[in-house]
């Protein structure tokens, strides 16, 4: 069979139409098997990257929250410790004051009792001395005047004398 050629520039409707159809079929194939798949994979990667960033931000936020809570707790603990310390100091001061007060009170009591005792002893001693002196004085006086003096009459006189004497003492 003889080989037939077209002329260099030939108008051939079949080739034209077929080539237009080929172009569209080829376009669909390229789109379906290449472009769409690449786009899908790029989208997936972008989503993954976005997710990573979101996750990282979330983790950061959580860490910040935890830090805030921790700091708040620390502040609270500090305040509480201060409070406890203050109250302890206050209690201690109160107690010490109370103890000191009680001690002072007790000392004062002891002191007043002691002075009362002393006063009583003194009074008693004075009374004893008085009686002694008055007896002595009576004996001396009896001897001096050699005069029987009624014990009862003279006793008041002597007491008055001794009182006056005591006052001077």
């Amino acid at each position: 069979m003889e080989t037939i050629y077209q002329s260099l520039v030939a108008v051939e409707p079949l080739t034209l139409i077929a080539n237009i159809c080929n172009l569209f079929i080829q376009m669909l194939i390229i789109k379906k098997f290449f472009l769409d798949k690449i786009i899908a994979v790029l989208d997936q990667r972008r989503q993954a990257a976005d997710k990573e960033i979101t996750d990282a931000e979330q983790a950061k936020q959580e860490a910040m929250d935890i830090k805030k809570t921790y700091e708040a707790n620390m502040l609270q603990a500090n305040a509480k410790a201060n409070e406890i310390l203050t109250s302890a100091q206050k209690t201690a001061a109160e107690r010490s004051e109370k103890i000191i007060g009680e001690a002072q009170q007790a000392a004062a009591q002891i002191k007043s009792k002691a002075s009362a005792d002393i006063a009583q002893e003194k009074k008693k001693a004075i009374n004893d001395a008085k009686n002694e002196i008055s007896g002595l004085a009576l004996a001396i006086a009896g001897k001096v005047v050699e005069k029987e003096l009624a014990q009862e009459d003279q006793a008041g006189l002597i007491d008055r004398f001794i009182d006056e004497l005591g006052d001077q003492v």
Binding site: T3, I4, Y5, Q6, S7, L8, V9, A10, V11, E12, P13, L14, T15, L16, I17, A18, N19, I20, N22, L23, I25, Q26, M27, I29, I30, K31, F33, F34, L35, K37, I38, I39, A40, V41, L42, Q44, R45, A48
Partner: protein, 294 residues
Amino acid sequence: MEMSINGAKILATFENVPILGTVHVTQTLVVSWLVMIIISALCVWLGSNLKVTNISRKQAAAESIYKALVNFVHDRMGTEFDRYIPLVGTIFITSLISNLISLLGIWSPTADLMTELGWALVVFVIITYHKVKASGIGGYLKGFLDPIFVMAPINVMAELFTPISMACRHFGNILSGTVISALVYGSLTAASYALFGALGSSPIAAVVLALIGAAMVFFGKKKGNKKLFIFGIVFAVLGVLGFLTSFGGVFAKFPWLTVGLPAITSFYFDWFTGCIQAFIFCTLTTMFIKQAAG
């Protein structure tokens, strides 16, 4: 020497087809299917087994191709024409593979005007759609009367010449490559027959030439003389081939000079023109659509 440059080979003819009349199934059609198969296989291969992380080299290449395509369209049209990315990419890769397939000695579908005209018509429809969309059907038709109504025929022609010029630019460049390649092959074949015909008619001269060549190679290498060495190789090869030609048969019929030498012209006309025309066609496509819409 007689040489003829033809269009595509006609493989089958059907007569009395409804509407179309007589149609020819040509090489263009068959090779364009082959190109489609190649591109589809490439797409399936590149688009398979894609992963989000820890990607393979193949996937990195596929993503680079995709990004290059998107950047190409975005640089020229902005981001609002993303739906034309598949079209531009398809035209580019189809044109590129169709142009480069001639390197394998296969008829290039782009050396047939109908191929480019088909693409250009698709682009023309898109351009017209955008023009009508931008200014309304009335505004579009009114545009033909600009600046005065007598200009209407020229405006209509200018409109119609957009796809024709696009198609012809691409076709012409590929055709010129084909024509020049054919001329180079033809002239080299003729030169080859003349040279080896002369050498083959006197085997003794051929043997002497080969021996001189061998001696030149030997001394060229010994003295470090590169010129002598290279000419020696040429002489030796010519001598050996001339001697072989003298036996006749297959050796005498083979055009030896067409081996290797046409690669020099092929580099420009097949590789460079093939790539640049695919690029230009896509650039024009994007530019025209952008102009029509804006």
